[in-house]
């Protein structure tokens, strides 16, 4: 299964109440062109690649972009002018190596392609200084072997989330990695982008799950052996994880697994304010009693979620009277999810609950949690519906220490709101905390406003730039789990410094001397 060329998949109905919530929303129809009307440049490939590449319209358009807002705006308007010249589906690590050899010799750029779900331009098929570019789709490299004793699995990079989980679950195991892109994203993509999933507070970010890697680079293979702990120098594992296809192609990863949980308990809680909720989450982290899924929506996001909740599960117990009587009208909702053996889940939910209650939390029962769980992958489908009705909708994420978290939250929300208002398209900006660490937490922003017809990308760039500048001035990282891609490269020097960029560039030049690997990504 893969996402549709113009978005995610089968969209739900447009929420007709949305224009009453977001100022200035017209709700006008803005449909995508049909696939046949997408403009596609001629394919230019050297003979050696023409024989093995697919060059049909659908394949090229499906690999012409990821799933960022600018990607979809361009594609839906019929612009696939940057589509790859061909799509190659190697069957094995060695086949990948051979393709890289040919591409380096012939001067063809290579974009490694997993699920194609990048929302930061990570799979945009830029040509760099070359005439041609191919997408290297890893879908056929999808093996899986498991070691139950050491709780390790060795995965082909092209294996997608659902298939991996189904196969693991059949063996009583789980990877526990559930990003919103779960239905389409691949193991290799998770590794290449330092993905974090919705349950990463408990299971750990994807970078923490990686023990071993196999990576094909133009300079040859790098094999990172799956040692549980090592002091053998700088970490090559951590150099390849997050390399976003710019150093080589990750073809295989050995990952930490867990026994399949015997029980899942998801709860809803309410806090009178975001500040109170943040402090309670900090206490959860400090006392090592954070749930596996820990999400706290700010006031704006809660208001939107309650208004849009179609199932009614959020609103029935959250009846305004109930919350108002307890001083939580206009407050913030929390989802707390615990997974594991029943005794353990019960004990941990009790410990977590004590901390939340002490911090001012109001227990809302399990229905809001279960409702969230059912709809955990719905966001991108809803986006398709909004894209069809003139809405600009976009997200970005960061993280910082607890000490700086509230300042950063305010600064980014104000930057987004200010930039959108300045263009005459005021936005609603919501945010949630979704990953909790001992030292701090992530912030995930969503904003919506009326789309500027004919100036969609300028509008997007104005808001994005304002937010990113606010992030780097307020001790935030430029990306918590979406990666750098193309969109964040202008802030990469602010993130790691000039000498830091030089160090990464040195590795890139050694492993990819021709510069064919995913040009225009990661490094400024």
């Amino acid at each position: 299964m893969r996402a549709t060329w113009s978005g995610w998949g089968d969209p739900p109905p447009f929420p007709e109440q949305l224009p009453s919530l977001v100022p200035g929303l017209s709700g006008r129809e803005t449909p995508a062109v049909s696939l046949d009307d997408v403009e596609l440049p001629e394919s230019r490939l050297p003979d050696a690649l023409r024989k093995i590449a697919r060059t049909d319209r659908e394949e090229r358009v499906l690999h012409a972009a990821g799933k960022s807002y600018p990607d979809l705006i361009r594609l839906r308007s019929g612009d696939a002018s940057g589509a790859p010249d061909g799509v190659i589906y190697p069957k094995s690590h060695d086949a990948v190596l051979r393709v890289l050899e040919v591409c380096a010799a012939e001067g063809v750029a290579v974009v490694p392609f997993g699920g194609g779900t990048s929302v930061v331009g990570g799979v945009e098929p830029l040509r760099g200084s070359f005439d041609s570019v191919v997408a290297l789709d890893l879908a056929r490299i999808d093996h899986l072997t498991t070691d139950r004793t050491s709780l390790l699995g060795t995965f082909g990079a092209g294996l997608r989330g659902p298939r991996a989980e189904t196969r693991l679950n059949g063996r009583g195991l789980t990877l526990g990695h559930f990003p919103q892109s779960f239905e389409f994203a691949t193991i290799g993509g998770y590794a290449a982008t330092r993905s974090a999933g919705q349950a990463s507070t408990g299971y750990g970010r994807f970078d923490k799950l990686v023990l071993g890697l196999r990576c094909a680079t133009p300079a040859g293979d790098i094999v990172v052996k799956p040692f549980p702990g090592t002091a053998a120098g700088p970490s090559l594992r951590e150099l390849l994880v997050g390399s976003e296809g710019t150093l080589g192609v990750i073809t295989e990863a050995t990952l930490q697994l867990r026994p399949l949980p015997g029980m899942r308990r998801y709860e809803g809680w309410s806090f009178a304010s975001f500040d109170e909720g943040v402090e309670a989450f900090r206490q959860l982290a400090e006392t090592h009693s954070a749930p596996d899924v820990a999400r706290l929506s700010d006031e704006q996001e809660t208001r939107l979620a309650m208004a849009l909740s179609s199932s009614g599960s959020l609103t029935d117990k959250l009846g305004k009277g109930y919350l108002k009587a307890r001083g939580h009208a206009g407050g913030c909702i929390v989802i707390a999810g615990y997974e594991g053996e029943p005794d353990d889940v019960t004990m941990r939910a009790r410990a977590g609950g004590r901390v939340l209650r002490r911090g001012g939390g109001l227990f809302l029962g399990r229905r809001p949690g279960e409702s969230w769980l059912r709809s955990r992958y719905h966001g991108p489908y809803l986006r398709d519906a909004l894209l069809g009705r003139g809405v600009m909708v976009e997200t970005l994420e960061t993280s910082t220490t607890w000490t700086r978290l509230r300042e950063l939250h305010t600064a980014v929300a104000e930057a987004l709101g200010g930039a959108m208002a300045a263009r005459g398209t005021p936005a609603v900006v919501g945010c949630h905390v979704s990953h909790v660490y001992p030292a701090g937490a992530s912030l995930y922003f969503t904003w919506m406003g009326e789309r500027e017809q004919g100036a969609e990308l300028e509008q997007w760039r104005a808001a994005k730039t304002a937010a990113m500048d606010a992030i780097v001035s307020n001790a935030g990282t430029i990306t918590h789990h979406h990666a750098v891609g193309r969109d964040h490269t202008p802030w990469m020097t602010a993130e790691v410094g000039e000498v830091g960029v030089e160090a990464l560039r040195a590795v890139k030049e050694r492993l990819d001397p021709a510069g064919i690997m995913n040009p225009g990504k990661l490094l400024p």
Copy 2:
């Protein structure tokens, strides 16, 4: 406080029962020469450095080596022919940068020096292709600021373990990092070598505690900001951690702290066999109920420890009759230590105890645990006593997955035993597991035999080579927490592969184009 030039410190009496335990041990006196009799080459320094460097005998000898067996064998015999030409104590990050500038311009090698406790030749002042070398001792860079809200501390690299802990404890905090070198080792050294402490099963290896870093390189500064989680590309943090002074000088680290534990509970347990103990430890890891300190000695190490135990605390409850009646004669001892808030410690000790008991463990009460805790830093002092009585005594460590652990244990023990026997100096080889991960564990070997007079280094090299070859052929890492230094460089290619070495070399050449930083270490 620093270690003595010829060893660690004030040695205990030689254990006179040792020759009855180790075949062929003579117990002959092998004293170190006096400091005045150590041979020291003339100091050769450019004027710019002569003004700021200390060049007196004691300083140069104190910085002439680390604390490995070959280091001490050479020094105790009066050979300081490789001593640095001078020792510089910079006061600040900027002063370090200036020293690097001068050294790069003048062609002087630089060895960053923390506690000088490397046991792998990591601070051996090799000159590389240069005429002179200076030791850059970071002792004066010892600031500390803490952020209680985010549980972070920012430490000067030269701060030593005890001073750091005292200052943190006064603020109700701990770093929880307690390697055997704790009394002398520094924060910068921990970071540069990927240290692991005795409590790292619970608190996490040092590399997991590092959030931020400041590093002075010949190409300029790298500042890694202390983000709790980030997806911004390959990890520069993980490139500098473990860089062993070959890329630059880590001058500051921002580290994850914990609240000072209100309770410490250390227990002793016994297992009938190492295999049973390993399986119980694996179960602890799988059920997330491992203690903060988890140590399991194999049969040989247990036998030695029981025989050498001076306090009698191991032997009184471990009376042979008691253990024999339970089928544990010749068995294996476990230390399980829990730290935290009292309720939490009680609950965790109960959970851990259930797993240990189910796995065949016999509870020996708290005295063996408390006895271990009192003597946790004694090992290197005892080594001084053995070095003075003709004993060859050395350690090495590795890790692998649970699946491969017992094979690796056997292979390394046989390699060490075989190599020593082949030289006519049969050895006792003991081992313990001291770090437990979900995927596997560490193995720490100690071996002792009669020292070969006049061929000490050849004897050492034969045993070391046999063990390292066994490690790389049996899925072990070449070092779990001692680092690569000089001694492990011949196996670095086996560890990370040729392309992996090239990637690291590329970074080295970019950050240190003159090649002055710690030549001869880390990279083959």
